[in-house]
């Protein structure tokens, strides 16, 4: 039996997940559509006063992104759990946390990046000043991977449950709050025209921290869920 190096295992898994996602293109579009729809609900709900919309704009974009990320989380390990390939990953000779990282990365590329593409459009719709849009994009680039990483722990804990969806949101949303706070604060600061280095540094720190710690917690949770 030939042995597979860790790097090639990582890239193989990443490729496999991306191919699987590409074969079901319609599913890739759904989180994006959801993101747009939720954002469109806000002006309808709170009234179309441009000043009001401008004030809540960054927050609305981020809350919608957060909900879209949350909704797409469940698919992260679901099909692998159902067809048993998750158990094969557990049995492989490679550290599960690295394999988890490949899956999370694939998931983020499929569900997180599309949000990033439509975000500037939504920002314009919500009267976010164009000077703040680069900051908004930057917070999304730094923030949405954190959402996927933290979310992976929650998914791993609930993947074995029949009705894990509601519990998943209950577990994950409180942990999302710090990201939400610093990201929207950065955008609001950028609108006023003050440097946002502090908030962006904290977001980067969260990204690095969760990149290191979350896969380990996810791997441990998966072991528990499969036991």
């Amino acid at each position: 039996m030939s042995t597979l190096s860790l790097t090639s295992a990582f890239t193989l898994l990443l490729k496999r997940d991306l191919v699987l996602a590409y074969r079901r293109r319609a599913e890739m579009v759904n989180p994006m559509l959801f993101f747009v729809l939720v954002t469109a609900m806000f002006p309808l709900g709170i009234g179309n006063d441009p000043k009001l919309i401008e004030a809540v704009g960054p927050g609305v974009v981020w809350v919608a992104a957060l909900l879209a990320a949350l909704l797409s989380l469940d698919s992260m390990f679901r099909s692998d759990f159902d067809d048993g390939s998750l158990e094969q990953f557990m049995l492989s000779a490679h550290p599960v946390s690295i394999l988890v990282l490949a899956k999370v990365l694939a998931h983020w590329l499929v569900t997180g990046l599309p949000l990033f593409v439509v975000a500037p459009l939504l920002a314009v719709l919500l009267n976010v000043p164009s000077s703040a849009i680069p900051t908004l994009m930057l917070t999304l680039v730094l923030g949405t991977p954190v959402l996927s990483l933290i979310g992976s722990v929650g998914v791993a804990l609930t993947v074995g449950l029949r009705r894990g969806g509601v519990i998943l949101s209950l577990l994950v949303l409180p942990l999302y709050v710090p990201v939400l706070i610093f990201a929207t604060d950065a955008v609001k600061t950028a609108i006023v025209g003050i440097p946002t280095t502090a908030q962006l540094s904290i977001l980067s720190a969260m990204l690095v921290g969760s990149l290191v710690l979350a896969p380990m917690a996810t791997a441990a949770s998966l072991r528990i869920s499969l036991s």
Partner: protein, 248 residues
């Protein structure tokens, strides 16, 4: 000696017995300190020069808020222990603590908003400390929900332990929120090491209340742990024998 003690405490049966003997002591201690604390807090301590009589809710609010964080840390530490060493009793402690912790968090939030109305003129503000405490409540509720969703209780306890450990990042945020962000909530006046900015006559009842709440937690968590042990070990012989003896 110590190793033997921990070894024995790891056995559900031994733990059950020891916990049963400890509960009355905790209860007595709790009641005595509670009466002392309430008496000194409500009748002996002077009124605040700025907040008048209404500051006295502090004697419930502050210990409850301390407990909400303390219990979470206890839970996370026992979670870590149960994940690493697979000790059954720490698993039991994790889930027994969660409900008590959630109640204390709710109590801290409720008394806080009652205190906020006369002082700040509003029940609730979205300032850093209040939001962080609310998040702590949600973390507790998530832990309870996850535990009740998983059928196998040993698996549930380990899943909950991981969640508790992930959520522990929130604790320093709550603790330092009033120092990091300048908000409506007043900064801590007790935990300044060396020189608390509070007079002894006001501080003493607060500390007595804090001890009282800890003893209450000790008593209740042991009661819950005992109930959990009986439920988990219901098929073992000692539980069956015990139940038979009770029935006689």
């Amino acid at each position: 000696m110590i190793v033997r003690f921990f070894h024995q405490m790891g056995s559900p049966r031994y733990f059950y017995g020891v916990a049963g003997k400890m509960i009355p002591w905790f209860m007595v201690g709790f009641l005595v300190t509670l009466l002392l604390g309430i008496y000194y807090g409500l009748f002996v301590a002077p009124a605040d020069y700025q907040q008048g009589e209404s500051y006295r809710i502090m004697y419930i609010h502050v210990p409850a808020a301390w407990m909400s964080m303390f219990i979470y840390v206890v839970m996370a530490v026992s979670g870590l222990i149960s994940l690493v060493w697979r000790i059954k009793m720490t698993e039991v402690m994790v889930i027994s603590s969660a409900t008590v912790g959630a109640s204390f968090t709710f109590l801290a939030l409720a008394t806080g908003s009652l205190w906020g109305k006369p002082m700040w003129g509003t029940w609730w503000v979205w300032d850093a400390r209040l939001t962080a405490e609310l998040l702590l409540l949600f973390l507790y509720l998530g832990i309870i929900a996850l535990h009740s969703a998983i059928e196998d209780k040993r698996v549930a306890a380990r899943a909950v332990s991981i969640l508790a450990l992930v959520g522990v990042v929130n604790i320093p945020i709550i603790h330092y929120s009033v120092e990091w962000w300048n908000t409506l909530h007043q900064p801590a006046s007790v935990t300044k090491l060396g020189k608390p900015s509070m007079d002894m006559s006001m501080l003493a009842p607060l500390l007595i209340m804090a001890i009282s709440f800890k003893l209450y937690y000790g008593a209740v968590v042991l009661m819950r742990a005992r109930a959990e042990i009986v439920e988990r070990e219901r098929n073992s012989r000692w539980v069956m024998e015990m139940v038979e003896q009770e029935a006689k």
